[in-house]
């Protein structure tokens, strides 16, 4: 599912950083319900209940691949705070696990 970063000379895969994208995935089906959204992922057939922060993340990553720091800058959040960046990385990894976004090499 994930696209691995190119391997270095010693044969071990590169660790992160990498960017995330929705790439050429079929568009998600959105239904806004109050301050949350219900989305249907045609690729997995799964339904997810997400908040507006995640809606924004998915919309941005559908346009351009970004890493966590770039994403926070784009969303006018402060990436200088380590806890904020860590939380963003946690969300991105969770979205990857759910098959909503994919990592690509930076």
């Amino acid at each position: 599912m994930s696209i691995l970063a190119p391997a270095p000379d010693d044969g071990f895969p590169l660790p992160t950083p990498h960017r995330w994208t929705r790439g050429k995935c079929p568009p998600l089906v959105h239904v806004p319900l109050g301050d949350h959204h219900m989305i249907f992922n045609p690729m997995s057939g799964h339904t997810h209940w997400i908040n507006e922060l995640v809606v924004d993340i998915l919309e941005i990553l559908a346009q351009h691949p970004m890493d966590g720091r770039e994403l926070m800058t784009e969303m006018q959040l402060d990436p200088a705070e380590d806890s904020n960046l860590a939380e963003m990385e946690r969300i991105l990894n969770e979205l990857d696990r759910l098959g909503l976004i994919f990592p690509v090499a930076s």
Binding site: V29, V31, L33, G34, H36, M38, F40, P42, G45, T47, W49
Partner: protein
């Protein structure tokens, strides 16, 4: 012609020979039976349903049959088995339990053959041209509530399966006898002495069951689908006070999707169907310990169309 217009002899002969075909909401049922006396169940509970007379040009959705046991079993604790397209899915019941076997067999038939509908485990009733949907697991009180509401002027579309058509955006009627279990039988008798109930069938896998005859209007208007307006998740709790409260739309969506038999099978069509229902309906939950109070709450809720 309706089933009730056939004489007992005609009904028996047809069940034993070519079988009987009748219209059940959006379905055509084809039933053959050699079980003595089973025709009385059809006369009592399906008398208003329209039959299709041979030669049949229509394709039946369900080819069902009830078979009494053969050999020594005909004499020693005789049994009956239900088959759908020749296949048997349940262990045989005592012969005297042919009616519950038929009803549960039909439930299984509808559940397994209706993936062109979003199939909710829900009772559905109509009031003022709008549908009240009562999704719930066994024991939640949905059948008892739907029985009581049908006796208070609501049109019953179904007590077990909410058949939502994503294309037409309506619930389809599929009115059949309401299955009541254990204490619910006496609760409904006490609620309305006019209720017409079958004999009681003890020692089934659901305990003692009995069936309530649905009002004539529910069968006569079986062709009319209804748009959903109120979705109420009931929970019966002994001694509980009765309260009806709104729930967030997102929570309602998830509970409704979890309640559907074929939500994931339908994919985007199922998602769209639930989304439309949630968008067009008030989402509520009802906790109750007294049937009369719950009925009053639902009558009050549905007295005003949103």
């Amino acid at each position: 012609m309706n089933i009730g217009q056939l004489s007992s002899r005609e009904l028996c002969n047809q069940l034993r020979s070519t079988g009987l075909r009748w219209i059940l909401g959006p379905f055509i049922v084809h039933l053959r039976s050699r079980v003595p006396d089973f025709f009385q169940h059809l006369q009592m509970f399906y008398h208003e349903n329209e039959i299709l007379e041979p030669p049949w040009d229509d394709i039946a959705d369900f080819h069902a049959s009830l078979h009494p046991s053969f050999g020594l079993r005909r004499y020693w604790r005789p049994k009956v088995s239900f088959r759908l397209d020749g296949n048997s899915f349940f262990t045989p019941f005592p012969l005297s339990h042919a009616p519950p076997m038929f009803e549960w067999g039909m439930n299984m038939a509808v559940a397994s053959r209706s993936n062109h509908y979003l199939l909710l485990h829900a009772a559905v009733l109509e009031k003022g041209g709008c549908a009240l949907v009562l999704p719930g697991t066994p024991g939640s009180g949905k059948s008892t509530l739907s029985a009581a509401l049908s006796l208070r002027g609501f049109r019953l579309l179904s007590d077990e399966f909410g058949l939502y058509c994503p294309q037409k955006k309506v619930f389809m009627a599929n009115a059949r006898p309401v299955g009541l279990k254990n204490e619910s039988i006496d609760v409904i008798r006490a609620f309305d002495p006019r209720a017409v109930l079958s004999e009681e069938y003890p020692h089934t896998r659901k305990g003692t069951v009995s069936f309530l005859r649905v009002p004539v209007g529910s069968v006569q208007q079986i062709d009319f689908g209804v748009v959903p307006r109120w979705i109420v998740f009931p929970t019966f709790e002994q001694q509980s006070a009765t309260y009806l409260e709104k729930i967030p739309a997102g929570e309602g969506f998830l509970r409704l999707a979890a309640n559907a038999f074929n939500y994931e099978t339908l994919g985007q069509s199922g998602f769209g169907g639930i989304a439309e229902m949630v968008r067009d309906s008030q989402m509520m939950q009802l906790r109750f310990g007294r049937l009369d109070e719950a009925v009053a709450e639902l009558q009050n809720l549905t007295s005003v169309t949103p």
